[in-house]
Symmetry: C2
Subunit: 132 residues, 2 copies
């Protein structure tokens, strides 16, 4: 593994940890602090469906996520991590309550890393949110 890909993995693991922290607590500053100014993210469904640009949009999204799940979401299993020089993919299972209804899913999230920041995020769903 090269120095570049080791750093990429380290930065993405920290971002993944900060994402879980945000989901568990509603505190999103550690995650926001890791985003580049030109950060972009893709989400599969709902009001943030498709491409979203900028940190301000990211904050609004995180606040929306906290509203939807009310800090109930927890990662139950990290299944695979695939990475190269610039991108790290985490495949995991999570569960919690969505709008107060039981929620369970398999997820793949992609972090694009630039130096010690995250410049891109893409999320994909591996389940129908009713089983995983």
């Amino acid at each position: 593994m090269t120095e570049g890909s080791e750093n990429t993995l380290k930065v993405a693991h920290q971002a993944f940890k900060n994402l879980q922290h945000g989901l568990a607590t509603g505190e999103w500053n550690p995650m926001l602090d890791m985003l580049t100014e030109d950060f972009t993210f893709w989400f599969p469904v709902g009001p943030y469906h498709g491409l979203n640009v900028g940190k301000k949009k990211a904050l609004a999204f995180f606040q929306y996520v906290s509203e939807v799940f009310e800090q109930t979401i927890r990662l139950t299993s990290l299944e695979h991590v695939t990475s190269n020089e610039t991108t790290v993919v985490f495949e995991f299972r999570d569960e919690g309550m969505m709008w107060k209804e039981p929620y369970i899913n398999r997820i793949a999230v992609f972090f694009d890393v630039r130096e010690d920041k995250i410049c891109g995020y893409r999320e994909y769903f591996g389940s129908d949110s009713k089983s995983n």
Copy 2:
């Protein structure tokens, strides 16, 4: 890039090509020929939702996919390829007709490679199948 990861990439690219060939023509033998006997696959929704085991199940799945899409599905854009020594992830957009209704999606597919075969496949959806 090591010799191992170069081979992994080569095998996965061939499998991805065979997958598209199957979708375009309904001919699934080139894809089936690349699967190990203990091949497993995960799919997000429908009758093959969750974990599926074995080549026989894979053939049934491919035939189901051909029935659903009737050879209308085409890849419109390959967006990202992320790979390591054993796994290759393709993120792409596709469109076609599903049960005769317009279908459009963003997809992430993971191929786990063992020697010159595919031993695992996992598919995730990046959209609601109505836009991408």
